[in-house]
């Protein structure tokens, strides 16, 4: 077996691995579909949380002014605001077409949520 044949075998193996990995990980999936699936996970998490908070409110009785769904301290208010900003950023970047070469500033300046 020549060196060229060995190199070719290694290259084929590497390509096969990359193709399998891409399929397994979802890299070959349509980006919009992938984003939709991730958003579904996020929505499921939010829905589960809201449903339980609604049950809590029912247990407490009518307490619209101090609902347990409301933040309980400044840190929580800030955390929720940051979460909403991050969600908006994620929706924004998902809308940018593939092929755009300019890196979004929010990804490059350490402002990762």
């Amino acid at each position: 077996m020549s060196a060229a044949a060995i190199a070719a075998a290694v290259q084929i193996a590497a390509q096969a691995y990359q193709a399998i990995a891409a399929a397994v990980e979802g890299q070959d999936m349509d980006p919009a579909e992938f984003t939709r699936q991730v958003e579904a996970r996020i929505a499921e998490s939010e829905s589960a949380q809201q449903q339980q908070l609604a049950k809590d409110r029912a247990l407490w009785g009518a307490v619209p002014a101090a609902s347990p769904a409301q933040p309980t301290d400044a840190a929580l208010v800030q955390a929720r605001a940051l979460e909403q900003i991050a969600a908006a950023q994620a929706r924004l970047v998902a809308a940018i077409p593939v092929g755009e070469l300019v890196l979004p500033a929010w990804l490059d300046d350490g402002a990762l949520d």
């Binding site: 980006p31 589960a48 407490w60 307490v63 991050a86 998902a94």
Partner: protein
């Protein structure tokens, strides 16, 4: 001359080639890509949250019952409920941070920025931190073992 050399050493050369291919494959397989890591983190986040939340809900409900029995009818005046609800909110928020990390990694993959590798690593690290926070909060609360 080549055939004689190959007859003498061919077996060893073939073994070396097979070994080289095996080593290369094992190296490739051992290097988890950022997307694979982010996928695994996202799945773990859902799994841990799903395991922790039933206990969290039970604790919050017990806190409501306890406070109402002692005459407290406002959530914010009920410390056990505030603690439980804040922790539960944090668990959900951490889970969603991990999921958003996966979305970011997937978004960056087809793009060709020079610093993409570093940014992907930072996103994955952030997701790992969020998952660790999620597990830590849930364990500290006794919602998971």
């Amino acid at each position: 001359m080549w055939s004689r050399w190959y007859k003498d050493w061919g077996f060893l050369v073939n073994c070396a080639a097979a070994l080289a291919v095996g080593v290369c494959l094992s190296v490739l397989c051992s290097c988890a890509t950022p997307l694979a890591t982010a996928n695994a983190l996202s799945a773990s986040a859902t799994e841990i949250r799903a395991a922790a939340i039933p206990a969290a809900n039970a604790e919050c409900t017990a806190a409501i019952t306890q406070c109402k029995a002692s005459g407290i009818h406002t959530p914010t005046d009920c410390p056990p409920y505030v603690t439980c609800n804040t922790r539960r909110d944090a668990v959900y928020a951490a889970e969603r941070t991990v999921h958003r990390g996966l979305a970011k990694v997937r978004w960056l993959l087809p793009r060709q920025e020079l610093s993409k590798g570093t940014i992907l690593a930072r996103i994955v690290a952030k997701s790992q931190d969020a998952l660790a926070d999620l597990a830590s909060i849930a364990k500290q609360a006794g919602w998971i073992k």
